[in-house]
């Protein structure tokens, strides 16, 4: 069989697993976000890690996504300013987690949605702890299969915890341990990473749930329009006037 068929079948299975097992988690997480939006609180989306930062980029200024959010894309904790620098070095600077929470002015009553498939690095764990300390609710999209199994002190927070153990609610993205899904006889190394896809699919499932719940409450849902279409940028101005300076990565 062609590799693409195997790979896509594996993904389909993982997606079905998310769909069929996380019902209560999606419900609780979306309720928390919906309530916070109705109270005028800020919803932060953060992917504290190298490829994890795509989590925040994906919902940033995007047609059909929520406009009342702060996607955090930090230059130290993302791939865009030096991938190696992030992965091998800066995501291990524990203090950075606290700084990012402080700099982004995360407040009591806000919601911090943290997406990290691995859910172990010191910045991620410290950021989650600090968000809770300031009184924000923490929702995680993560895969305990990884954080439960990883045995490497150097890449973990000193407390050894996984993101799923800290979050108020976590949704399992079912990224498998080591992120890889394909193994063939012709080579030793496994391949076919799925972490980013599973994280984003789980994130999308959450934001669509939030949007539908808001709409069903009769609220005019703040959603971006397509900036490439006529009238799009002008429509988006209503949100940008409020958010442009507050959302530092905008």
């Amino acid at each position: 069989m062609n590799a693409y068929v195997d790979y896509l079948n594996i993904l389909i299975n993982l997606i079905e697993k998310v769909r069929d097992t996380q019902d209560d988690k999606f419900d609780r997480a979306s309720d928390i976000i919906v309530n916070a939006i109705m109270e005028g609180k800020m919803i932060h989306f953060w992917g504290p890690g190298g490829h994890s930062s795509i989590f925040a980029e994906d919902v940033m200024y995007r047609e059909g996504e929520l406009a009342c959010i702060n996607p955090i894309i930090d230059p130290n904790i993302s791939l865009g300013h030096g991938a190696l620098k992030e992965v091998n070095y800066f995501e291990r600077v524990e203090k950075m987690g606290k700084v990012i929470v402080k700099y982004n002015r995360i407040k009591a009553g806000d919601v911090m949605v943290i997406g990290s498939a691995y859910g172990v690095n010191p910045v991620c764990i410290q950021g989650a702890l600090e968000s809770k300390r300031v009184g924000a609710e923490v929702i995680a999209v993560t895969s305990p299969a990884f954080s439960d199994a990883l045995d490497n002190e150097e890449t973990r927070h000193a407390n050894g915890k996984g993101l799923n153990e800290i979050a108020d609610v976590y949704i399992n993205s079912y990224s498998p341990y080591d992120d890889l899904t394909m193994k063939i006889d012709e080579m030793d190394q496994k391949f076919g990473p799925v972490g980013t896809i599973m994280q984003l699919i789980t994130l999308k499932a959450l934001t669509t749930t939030v949007i539908k719940k808001l709409a069903q409450k009769g609220i005019e849902v703040p959603i971006w329009k397509n900036a490439l279409e006529k009238g799009g940028p002008e429509f988006n101005d209503r949100y940008l006037d409020q958010l442009w300076c507050k959302v530092k990565s905008m």
């Binding site: 006037d241 442009w244 300076c245 507050k246």
Partner: protein, 252 residues
């Protein structure tokens, strides 16, 4: 040592010349003090490569004003890769689009535009946008430099106009930087070295800020000025200013 001494003497001579432009600094200082009095932001941008350093000189610094909003961007910045900044000098719209991106620029604000060679596209677009938005405009540029650049230089704006000659600028301050920014000649190697622009721009910006604070003091204007970042008291005051400006100034 010969070259160092020579460099020092020539830099000192340029600073001496700059120190005589007191009327310009007073005027700029008054414009800044007025912006502070009217609760306006003061924007600053260095619109090409090493000129962008000047926009960093007076931002987020003890003794400077907290209502300064720099326009920082990889387009102009050596720190985000020098060669691409060089190549982008030939691109249209970078100045205009960057200006439009900064949504906190409001009618009646003050903008300082620093561009040493004074020939380019981005800086010209910034000045044109500033006029359109009825901003007050101060330009720091070198007449010597812009006049010395060949008229066919690809970095020149299409009208081949030097910034110092553009309409609608409230105040042009000449940075007196010699052509191509170098003052020391190595004959045998056939190269020039020893730059002046960063020092000249920094002197001018310091002079402007000092003149502004002098006016603020004299006219008893309420101003937000950064305190010492190394001492507990100062840090506490500065933290309150960060809170005040973090949703007004993009790069705080």
């Amino acid at each position: 040592m010969k070259y160092i001494l020579d460099y020092y003497k020539q830099v000192a001579a340029i600073l001496d010349e700059l120190s005589k432009q007191t009327e310009d600094y007073k005027k700029a200082g008054q414009m800044i003090a007025d912006a502070v009095k009217n609760k306006k932001l003061i924007h600053i941008v260095g619109t090409e490569m090493h000129s962008s350093i000047a926009a960093e000189e007076i931002f987020f610094r003890a003794g400077s004003l907290a209502n300064i909003n720099p326009l920082y961007d990889p387009t102009f910045s050596v720190t985000h890769s020098a060669a691409r900044s060089l190549y982008l000098k030939e691109a249209d719209f970078c100045g205009q689009f960057l200006f439009e991106y900064y949504r906190n620029i409001q009618k009646g604000d003050l903008i300082l535009i620093i561009d040493t060679d004074g020939i380019g596209k981005a800086c010209k677009e910034m000045i044109e946008k500033s006029k359109e938005m009825e901003l007050k405009v101060i330009v720091v540029t070198s007449r010597n430099f812009s006049e010395a650049v060949n008229s066919n230089c690809p970095y020149r704006n299409s009208e081949k106009i030097n910034l110092c000659n553009m309409d609608g600028i409230d105040l042009v301050i000449d940075s007196k930087v010699p052509a191509f920014d170098t003052i020391i000649r190595f004959e045998e190697l056939n190269i020039n070295s020893g730059w002046v622009s960063t020092i000249a721009n920094s002197f001018i910006l310091n002079a402007i800020i000092l003149a502004a604070i002098e006016t603020i003091e004299k006219e008893n204007i309420e101003a937000d000025i950064w305190d010492n970042f190394y001492e507990a008291n100062g840090l506490q005051k500065n933290e309150a200013l960060i809170d005040k400006y973090i949703e007004k100034v993009k790069h705080i």
